[in-house]
Amino acid sequence: MIRVALPAHLRKLARVDGEVKLDVEGQVTQRSVLDTLEACYPMLRGTIRDQVTQRRRPFVRFFACEEDLSHESPDAPLPDAVATGAEPFLVVGAMAGG
């Protein structure tokens, strides 16, 4: 079970409280996690990744295990702690503004 923590705006959009729990088939990567997330919550399509290029939106970051994974390959395996559900995969709105 993969745990995904969404920012407040996206939790509200997806109508969820707290973390989202996902069953991800195959290797646990950014791409497989986000594919599963968008399949379960189609209203999130386009909010984290561009719908055409599938690239991370510029003001969205991915953190886990106290590491910034934003610039890792979307097909790189996520840390074991994320794959086992010990730690959440954090989708974060970049700090910006005043």
Partner: protein, 371 residues
Amino acid sequence: MSRVRVLVGTRKGAFVLESDGKRERWDISGPLFAGWEIYHLKGSPADPNRLYASQGTGWFGQLIQRSNDGGKTWEPVGNRFVYDGVPGTHLWYDGTPHPWEFARVWHLEPSLTDPDTVYAGVEDAALFRSTDGAQTWQEVAGLRCHESAPSWQPGAGGMCLHTILLDPSDPERIFAAISSAGAFRTDDTGKTWRPINRGLRSEQIPNPTAEVGHCVHRIAMHRSRPGVLFMQKHWDVMRSDDAGESWQEVSGNLPSDFGFPIDVHAHEPDTIYVVPIKSDSEHFPPEGKLRVYRSRTGGHEWEPLTKGLPQRDCYVNVLRDAMAVDSLDSCGVYFGTTGGQVYASSDAGNSWAPIVRDLPAVLSVEVQALP
């Protein structure tokens, strides 16, 4: 007695303001989509309970929301806006080629007859259409594929398609306006388009009378007379009596002919409204006095409407989509400001009162007259 529903888009959410036909007491609901920019929301003329809203942020991109019950509940619908084919380039601010990139939906224009058909004007400038209630979108690519498109360039707010006018007398005719490319018209439901900017003069471009490149801020028409168009350009208020084939300046005695919105009285096709702004570098009312100007002669002769509006120390702006009129017997006029006020007049502009004073900056105002 009729009711009115005013739909307000702001920098931080949407608000719905409702009143009976007297338009004196208002129920205010919101914020809807709190924290998101709501560039525009508008109801279907064919079904007033069908509303569409453009929701977005720089963080999480563009969403479209739809309501089937007059705004009580909403559901996110399709937000996949993909340019047709290889989009190519337009000009950037510095005059160099820049790839076409979707940024946001500025304006939603529901069909006059079908609640499931709606148009979206987007940045970078293009027109999209949905025929399934905004679940899916297809580009009306004939506009962006016009031979002049590689020379289009953004205005200060981005290269946005902000005005979509559907001709009630001819379902194949659509007018669109782009900052800063100008006005365009199709007579074949979007297959082909041509610029309709003859008579415009813009000193900010190398050839002031060029076919394209004009920063049109807003165009308005009266549905009984769709061949007559009124335009607030960057500078200059203009009028066309031949569906955009030619334009004449009608700025007349306005204290400034810079501004953003323009609208037409619901029952008097020659009564029009603008909000003069001091200049392109000082986006606030001249002399700190918030004045709507009304012409009852289709331009040239203008009168200031000030009763109930602040006449000192007012430095707000009124954006291009932030003015609307209702169709009650005594025409109501509404506008919102970047200071968060929404003003209403139930007597065609003779007097004004704020419906609400302290919203986030207002981006758009639309109004529906309800049975």
